[in-house]
């Protein structure tokens, strides 16, 4: 089958559930390869296994048989820390339901994923991994001294106190600026920049959906998984979102989108159909 150099490889993946005492395959021997820059859409009726498929890609569900490989990592074999890191740094996930944090503003909701692991994100560094103008990053030595598997509540930075504390504060301030700038830019691209200080309860369904997309894009994931990303959107908003996703794909991000929306399908490179758990190319 496929080599492991692809970004996403589903190899003969089956997920079985028991319903009323009888086993059935929600996903039945599915195979799929997604490379960088590919925009894949999956269509199919409700209950045909689309969500189960993407939940296996994100590691929320383990396959009954077969393997899911993301960025050369067998998802089922990852520890909780490794899987979380994969979700945070390699994957972006636009969920079907509304999962914004009600206690945070729109801007903070978008920024939060970028604060979960201590090492710098691509948009805060230049090509050599040096400190960028907006957000300075720690050097490799400094980063390596911290346990990257630990949350920032435990190990925020591997920085010495005392003489380096002023530098550390400057770096943190620089990183904060970079995060805010990145989040505001995404909100702007999605046409909701004016909602940055609003709370989720003040938003419409479509606005929340767009905030979710901004959040999923915040860490510049290699693979964006979108479960009905245009479900609540009007035509104009759908166009804004799909144009953005297309641009991301053109810049090298792989996108795996589950949708019922025919308008959204037109933006994809390849369309697959999911029928009774069987995945087939349209």
């Amino acid at each position: 089958m496929a080599s492991t150099s692809h970004l996403l490889v589903l190899c003969d993946v089956t997920r079985q559930f028991i319903r009323r005492g009888k086993p059935f395959n929600a996903v039945d021997h599915a195979n799929l390869i997604v490379d960088e820059g590919e925009f894949i859409a999956v269509v199919g009726r409700s209950g045909n296994g689309k969500s189960t498929l993407i939940n296996m890609v994100t590691g929320l569900i383990r396959p009954t048989s077969g393997s899911v490989t993301v960025d050369d990592c067998n998802v089922a074999a990852l520890s909780d820390n490794e899987l979380s890191r994969l979700r945070n740094r390699t994957l972006g996930f636009v969920t079907q339901g509304h999962t914004l944090l009600g206690n945070l503003t729109v801007l903070d909701n978008v920024i939060l994923p970028a604060t979960m692991f201590p090492d710098s994100l691509p948009f805060a560094c230049d090509d050599e991994g040096e400190v960028s103008e907006e957000g300075q990053s720690l050097s490799d030595d400094e980063v390596s001294a911290a346990d990257s598997s630990l949350p920032d509540t435990i190990v925020p930075f591997a920085y010495d106190s005392g003489a380096k504390s002023a530098d550390a504060q400057n770096i943190q301030a620089g990183q904060r600026r970079a995060l805010i700038s990145r989040a505001q830019d995404l909100l702007n691209q999605l046409g909701i920049a004016d909602l940055a200080d609003s709370y989720p309860r003040e938003l419409s369904g479509g606005e929340m959906r767009r905030v979710s997309i901004a959040r999923a894009l915040m860490n510049q994931p290699k693979l964006l998984i979108a479960d009905e990303p245009t479900g609540d959107l009007d035509q104009e908003s759908t166009d804004i979102v799909m144009r953005l996703l297309r641009a991301q794909a053109d810049n090298g991000m792989a996108i795996l989108m589950v949708t019922h929306d025919p308008d959204a399908l037109a933006w994809a490179d390849t369309v697959y159909r999911m029928d009774a758990g069987v995945l087939s190319k349209v």
């Binding site: 979700r87 944090l101 945070l104 939060l112």
Partner: protein
């Protein structure tokens, strides 16, 4: 400039944005810490008072006049001042009994309301030469010799700026003031035996107690006895009773027995306190668990969201524990503060109302108790959140969320 959220700041935001839930949890933890700290401090102060009483009651046996044993006990614990006496010939006979190591006489005179004090004073005459009960205690705080006409004042006695106390229309010089004991001795003044007749003479003029005045130079309220090694107080009391046919009717007070009686009252009170605190804590823990359990469902969406963003289970647990610690520590501090406002300024009033030895524990004990309270209130918060963490350890919150959608 917008201050960007961090994972570290998320627990604070969660608490801030849920003011009702936070206030409810804080109230519960505050009540728990208030009852725990308040109850423990009361218990500790009563125990300290008891220890102080035991230390001050250095005698193994007190022999007092007929029907005055209860007054004597009250006088030594936290009761009202009294006047009772027999005469020195009886005291001398008592002192001749077998098994006595040391004996000393004391005379008790209850004052009228004095200018110095809110309540009546207990005037205690003692013989510095033979005394083995008060003198060691006084000696720790006054290294001179108590001269005739001079006084040593208990801790609660207000001595005027010129170092005197006005009693029965006369100013008495005070040479020292003793530390707090939590007993009625704090409301007492001490004079030597030679000063007793002077005091009786002036008091009798005011109180018209001519009988007492007549016996002023030979009035003795109690004989305090320290028994020889190998004897117990009961045996010595029996020996005394055999000395004279009238002696079985005398009052025999066993400081160990007093403390036993007082201890019984004290233990009963402490038991009530313990039950009260336990019930409050049991109810509080149940309410806390219920609040946390209900918040698991309420917060399922939040946890699902964090998981799909890449939060590890450790991060979620850290958020929950941090919230619990913030609630527990804040509630603990408020509870300790409120309990302190109720207990420390009203120490004397509490002691008076309880009619038990009540002495404020030392600062180290208070700080220790406050720390234990804070640890317990924080621990109870964490214990409550364990349920949430346990629920989080079950299948992915996002999946259960999807099932519910």
């Amino acid at each position: 400039m917008h201050s960007a959220i961090t994972l570290r700041g998320l627990p604070y935001e969660n608490l801030k944005r849920k003011p009702l839930r936070t206030a409810a949890l804080l109230t519960i933890v505050t009540i728990l810490s208030l009852t725990f700290f308040g109850g423990t401090m009361l218990t500790m102060n009563l125990n300290t008072g008891m220890t102080s009483t035991e230390q001050r009651l250095g005698a193994d046996l007190m022999v007092v006049p007929q029907n005055t044993a209860q007054q004597a006990e009250a006088l030594l614990t936290n009761g009202s001042p009294s006047t009772f006496y027999f005469t020195t010939d009886i005291a001398d006979t008592i002192k001749s009994a077998d098994g006595i190591e040391q004996a000393s006489e004391q005379t008790y005179i209850s004052s009228l309301a004095a200018a110095c004090c809110d309540e009546k004073l207990q005037i205690i005459g003692f013989d510095p030469a033979s005394d083995f009960v008060i003198e060691p205690w006084i000696a720790s705080q006054f290294d001179g010799t108590l001269q005739d006409g001079q006084m040593i004042a208990g801790a609660n006695v207000d001595v005027s700026v010129d170092g005197t106390i006005e009693l029965y229309g006369r100013d008495w010089p005070v040479v020292a003031q003793l530390a707090n004991t939590g007993t009625s001795l704090d409301n007492s003044v001490f004079i030597n035996t030679a000063t007793v007749p002077q005091m009786v003479a002036v008091s009798s003029k005011m109180t018209k107690n001519s009988a007492f005045a007549k016996n002023a130079d030979k009035a003795v309220s109690t004989v305090l006895i320290k028994v020889k090694q190998g004897y117990d107080a009961q045996t010595v009391a029996d020996n005394i009773k055999h000395l004279d046919s009238r002696f079985p009717d005398l009052g025999y007070v066993y400081p160990g027995g007093i403390t036993a009686t007082t201890k019984n009252s004290l233990n009963a009170l402490i038991s009530y306190l313990a039950v009260f605190v336990s019930v409050i804590w049991a109810m509080g823990v149940i309410v806390l668990l219920a609040v946390f359990a209900s918040s698991v469902n309420e917060r399922k969406r939040e946890f699902a969201s964090l998981r799909i963003m890449g939060a590890t289970r450790g991060m979620l647990n850290a958020i929950i524990v941090k919230e619990s610690i913030m609630i527990g520590a804040s509630g603990g501090v408020v509870g300790v503060g409120l309990a302190s406002l109720m207990i420390f300024p009203f120490s004397s009033l509490i002691g008076t109302q309880l009619q038990l030895p009540y002495l404020q524990a030392g600062p180290i004990a208070i700080i220790g108790c406050a720390v234990v309270t804070l640890v317990c209130s924080t621990a109870i918060g964490i214990a409550g959140s364990m349920l949430t963490m346990w629920r989080l350890s079950k299948p992915e919150a996002y999946l259960t969320l999807r099932e519910g959608d």
